[in-house]
Structure formats: C-alpha cells, structure tokens
C-alpha cells in the first residue's frame, strides 16, 4: 500500500493571527516584531502587503519602515496567542490521523495513508482540511500532498496562499527537478555553496549527480540529499503518542544586544542552561548529551552536539559543555545574535554516578541548584544571579522565564 503524506504550512502565520485578531489592520502592511526595547526589534513575520514592499524576515524595524511606501503597522509578537492558535489547528489535523508531526509552530506533517487509497482521495482530504481551517480558525494553509515527507514539504512551499499541491511518483521529475536545489529540505547556505561550486543548480542536477562524488564532497549528508532528490525518503511521520515521550529540553533566546565576546556568550549559555536544568529537575530527567545552537548577525545558524561522560541535570555541567562546543566551533567572523541550549538522550529515574565524580559532590551541586531554584520561585528570578551575567547591563535585563522561548522547530533528523 502506498503512502499518502500531507505537509500543511500556515501562511504568514504570526502576521495572519495578528490580522485575524485585529480587523482594523487587515488591509494594511503588517509586520510582527520582537521587543524593540530589548533589541529583539527585528521583523519576525510579515503579511503579503508588507512582503510586496520587499520587507524581509530579519530586517530591523527601521529598515522595514524605510522600504514601505505606506504606513507600516508593527505589532509586538504574542507567542502565547500563536501557540494557542497553533494548538487549535493541530487539533483539526489530529481528527484525521494520530500521526501528526509538528515542524515548528506553523507546519506539520500528517500521515493519511489509512484514509486514502488514491491521490484523488488524498487531495480531497487536503482540501477538506484547508476549508475547515478557513471556516473554523480563519487562517489559510498551503498543503503539499505526496508519497514522502520531503516532497510533501516541498509541495507546501510551491504555491501560497491557500493551495493544495500534488507531487506523485509519476510527476515529481517534472515538478520537482526543475526547482532550485536550495528549495530541498536541509540544503542550507553552506551546502548550497558546495553545490554551486559543483554546478549543481537544480534538484534534478542533484538527482543526476554521481553519488560517489556527493559522498566525497558532502559526506553522509550528500547521500541523504541525493535520496531526497530521487524521491527516496521513507522516514515515518512521528505519531502523537511517540511525541508524548520527552526527547529533549531546550531553550533559546535572541539577545538584547549582539554578543561580541566569549565572556558574553558564556553568560547567556549559563542562563539558558539554568533554565533547562530547572525544567529537567522538575521532571526528574538526566541528559547524556548536550547541544548548542548559534545564530549569527546574518541570521545564519548551526547546531553542534556532544555526548557527556555521565548523565546530568546540573546547569553547570550543561553550560560548561555547551561553552566548550561554542569555543570549538565558532570563528567570530560575525557577532552572535541568538543562542540555544538543548539536552538530549534523556533518562529518567535513578541516577548512575560518574566513576570519577563522588556522589557527595554531585548531590552537593544538585542541592545548591535546588536551593537557588526555590529562592527564585519564592522571590522572583532576580533574587539571585550569577556574577558573570552582571558584566553587561543589557544582558542582565534578560529573564529566562519571560524572554526565552521554548518554541523550537523539531529537526527532521532529530525527530526520528
């Protein structure tokens, strides 16, 4: 039996929700921005009118206003509201399948193989979902329908807003292969440059490139991307039941000022790690791995991870290792705009201690951190802070409980 996968993408999600909740701005150029005071004042999302003025995600508010010939409406982001609306939309998806895998707040894959026998059935279901989202939620989605996740995702990007795009085993060479290779999932800026050097311009070029050459230039990822281009992606859509099992804890933040030194980066990593460790302790989890996500001022980002010698939920251990990852991997060509700390490979329950670290030492650290967390719970976050965060006044205004976002797109590979 064939697979029928949908990928649904809410069009201009943040800006559409704002326009929905404020009818007065619906026919104006609208951008959703971060907190200007805390220097998150960049464009996070825009509606089609703002887009027509070439306003881009990542523009500063000042740049966006310069580009816009008409009055530009700037609304502050309301993540709680977006999460609420996202949940309502995903509840609709779950009426069709228990295999719904979120890809960020505004995208999801839905496996409807049990409902559809033909592509006509699958398209009809996609159209039904689109119609329901318009009438029940007031938003539009673009849905890609295909036999695998990668092409379904590609399909949802092809026509916006409010469209269903079908990519089948029969038409994917005509529809997909002419597209620029950058349109393929997981072809980022670095990979794209390598392809450029190899004169691989389209997804078709990639599909027709010798796999040995790709392996040589891109390693394992070259083989994976070649498979994607040829329609060979058998990765399953993760079911909601699998999702309930916690796989990682992560926090990220866009800093109030660009970070220009290792000391500043270290401060933020410690702050993020504290927030992650606090959540882990509440749920009694220990991590065997940590990962660090870094975004520079060009909005280019990467993630690096490492395994730990023994599991931990101590913020200092998490921070120390993440800082090491930073030092090993960042070349300071550009300043740092945003950072994220994540712990992976989790275990729960009783802790097995490191052979070389005494039980007393671990428990001592744990007791100390619990005491700090209790103090903060009773008297507020600012009651006790690390000395290193006070080196920069702008950074010390950051409060992980209100400024750090736990909205991560779940990585395509991490979800497996």
């Amino acid at each position: 039996m064939g697979r029928f996968i949908l990928h649904s993408d809410l069009n201009n999600f943040y800006a559409s929700v704002e326009s929905l909740y404020n009818p007065n701005i619906r026919n104006k150029a609208v951008v959703v921005v971060g907190d200007e005071e805390k220097r998150h004042g960049i464009v996070l999302a825009k509606n089609y009118i703002a887009k027509s003025y070439n306003i881009k995600t990542g523009d500063t508010v000042w740049e966006a206003r310069q580009k816009c010939a008409e009055e530009l409406v700037c609304v502050p982001a309301r993540f709680d509201l977006y999460l609420y609306v996202s949940r309502l939309v995903k509840d609709i998806y779950r009426e069709y399948s228990d295999k719904v895998e979120s890809f960020g707040i505004d995208e999801a894959w839905i496996d409807i193989s049990h409902l559809a026998k033909t592509y006509e059935d699958a398209v009809a279901i996609a159209n039904n979902i689109r119609t329901r989202i318009i009438s029940e939620i007031g938003l539009t989605v673009s849905i890609g329908v295909s036999f695998n996740k990668v092409f379904a995702k590609l399909g949802s990007d092809l026509k916006k807003p409010n469209a269903t795009i079908l990519i089948t085993q029969d038409n994917f060479r005509d529809v997909v292969w002419k597209l620029p290779v950058e349109d393929l999932l997981y072809v980022g800026r670095a990979t794209s440059k390598k392809f450029e050097r190899a004169r691989i311009k389209t997804i078709g070029d990639l599909a027709n490139t010798d796999i040995k050459y790709l392996k040589l230039t891109l390693g394992k990822m070259g083989v994976v991307l070649h498979d994607f281009a040829c329609g060979r992606d058998t990765s399953p859509v993760e079911s909601i039941h699998d999702k309930e099992k916690i796989k990682s804890f992560g926090n990220s933040t866009t800093c109030p000022v660009d970070l220009v030194s290792n000391t500043e980066v270290k401060s933020i990593i410690y702050m993020l790690a504290e927030s992650v460790a606090e959540r882990m302790k509440k749920k009694n989890y220990y991590a065997h791995g940590v990962s660090l996500w870094v975004k520079d001022t060009d909005l280019c980002s990467f993630e690096r991870q490492m395994q730990l010698s023994s599991p931990t939920n101590i913020s200092e251990d998490i921070a120390k290792n993440c800082y090491k990852l930073f030092l090993d991997n960042y070349d300071w060509q550009l300043n740092v705009r945003a950072l994220g700390v994540r712990v992976t490979n989790l275990t729960t329950g009783k802790m097995q201690y490191d052979l070389f670290e005494s039980v007393n030492n671990f428990e001592k650290k744990q007791k100390l951190e619990c005491a700090i967390e209790k103090l903060r719970e009773r008297f507020g976050y600012d009651i006790i802070r690390r000395g290193n965060i006070l080196v920069n006044q702008s950074l010390s205004s950051l409060n992980p409980h209100s400024d750090i976002h736990i909205i991560h797109p779940i990585g395509f590979f991490k979800a497996k």
Binding site: L20, Y21, N22, P23, Y84, V85, L88, S135, E136, I137, G138
Partner: protein, 76 residues
C-alpha cells in the same frame, strides 16, 4: 463592531456539553430562548476563534462565542 466579553450562565450536562442560559450585556441580563446551533467557527468581524453558539434572544438570532474559557459577542 467590537469584541465584547460577556457574563454567561451556563448549564453543563453530565456529558460536559455546555448550554448557555442567560447572558449579561451592558448590565442587562437576557434570557436565551433557544440554542439553535453550535459549531467551531471563527469570528472574522471582531477576531476570535472558538465554539460558536447560534442563539435566539427575544426572537432575534445572534452569535455567542466561547473562546479560551471566555464568552464574547460581536457588539455594534
């Protein structure tokens, strides 16, 4: 038109179904004669998403919305 949150008296049956009985609007309590329909819907007029109850009050049909644990009407 504006989104106006209102106080609502609700009857909840043994299965958890809600049946609004009265709404208080501008300090007046209005009795709901009949709930004609309920479905999930958006209010494009004032901006809101939730359960939309079509209700009859004094012979007039109007919409009453239940959104995120609060009730609202589309007020002129």
């Amino acid at each position: 038109m504006e989104k106006k949150y209102v106080k609502v008296m609700v009857e909840i049956d043994e299965n958890g179904n809600k049946k609004p009985k009265t709404i208080t609007f501008n300090n007046h309590e209005y009795e709901i004669d009949k709930v004609l329909d309920m479905k999930k819907a958006v209010s494009m007029k004032v901006g809101g998403i939730g359960e939309r109850y079509t209700v009859r009050i004094n012979g007039h049909e109007t919409y009453l919305y239940f959104e995120n644990n609060k009730w609202f009407v589309e007020s002129h």
